[in-house]
Structure formats: C-alpha cells, structure tokens
Subunit: 106 residues, 2 copies
C-alpha cells in the first residue's frame, strides 16, 4: 500500500470515527437541521456539559463542525452542507443489511 493511499484512508477514517459515537451522531443529526448552542445539545444528550463539549471538540477537529461565540453562548453548525447524503447512505446500508439478514434467516 502506497503512502498516498494510506494518507487518504487515514483522513477518511478520521471523519467516520468522529461520527462513530451515538452522542456525536446525534449532535451531527441535530446540527443538520439547524445550529445549536452547547447548552441545547447538552440537554438533548443528557450528559455532563463537559462531556458534550469534548464531543464537539472531536467533531471540530475532524472538520465536521464549526463554532461561533455569540455573547456567553457558543453556537455550533455543520461546516459541510452535504452530510445529509451520508446519513442517507448509512440508512440504506442498514436497510440492505437488515434485508439481507432477513433473507438469510428464512
């Protein structure tokens, strides 16, 4: 495996990994609807605010979200508008997978 390909794989894996956590996925899904402050996300997830803040840091580091401070609050939004397609893809993978499993169990 050449270096270039490995580098690309690493970057892609990092993006996937950043979303590969229930809370972070939830955050991303919410941000796909509209921007949110940490407070709102914290209440939604039901964890400690510090925990949510760290999840947001992970997403930010992966280039998925951006933050903007307005007054005392920090608003997060998706940096990328095309995440909807990714969700659809994951969904269709799940559907295919479920269908295959159903076939297999017949």
């Amino acid at each position: 495996m050449n270096r270039e390909r490995l580098a690309k794989l690493n970057v892609k894996a990092r993006v996937l990994k950043a979303m590969a956590h229930p809370s972070r996925l939830c955050i991303v899904e919410e941000l796909a609807k509209r921007e949110r402050c940490v407070c709102e996300l914290t209440e939604m997830i039901g964890a400690d605010m510090s925990t949510v803040s760290k999840h947001l840091t992970v997403l930010k580091h992966a280039g998925i979200v951006a933050d903007e401070k307005r007054g005392a609050m920090v608003f997060y939004r998706l940096r990328v508008p095309c995440l909807g397609k990714l969700f659809e893809s994951v969904d269709s993978v799940l559907e295919c997978s479920a269908r295959e499993l159903a076939e297999a169990s017949k």
Copy 2:
C-alpha cells in the same frame, strides 16, 4: 432523548465505527471492487494475518461483509451493494471540508 432514537443512533454508530479504521476502510474499498480471500487482504494491508482476520470479524459482526469458505481459503465480500454511495458521501464531505478550510485561510 427517547429510547427508540437512542437505539437507532447506536446501530448507526456501530456501522460507522466498524468502518472507522484505516485498515478496515481499505478492506471495504477493496471488497467493493470484488471478493477477496484473507490472504490477499493481508498482503495488501501489510499486517499480521491474525490482525486482518480480527478486522474482518468486526466488519462481519457489523453486517457489512459476509464470508464463504472454499477449500482452504475464506473469501469475503460486501454484504451490501450500496456502499459505493457512502464512499462518495465521505469523499464529498472531505472535499467540502477542504474547500471550507481553504476559504477560511484566505
């Protein structure tokens, strides 16, 4: 957050997590082209065969790949045909992200 949504998030996160590793992503990309035996994948990745075998177990457990033994060899293939779209999605996320970063650094 209600239980049903949490359950869905967990399932989706599990699929993403299974692919969120450079070696596993590489495996999935290869299998998207054609089926492969463990041996071929091992050579491609350049790790111990036991390591590759465990990666394959992870993918199998997530419902992403299926295995079939033929003689002494075990062939793996994608269980789902629609993974190509997911790759495209990840790619476009990366492109958007790169473009945004370029804009931001102007």
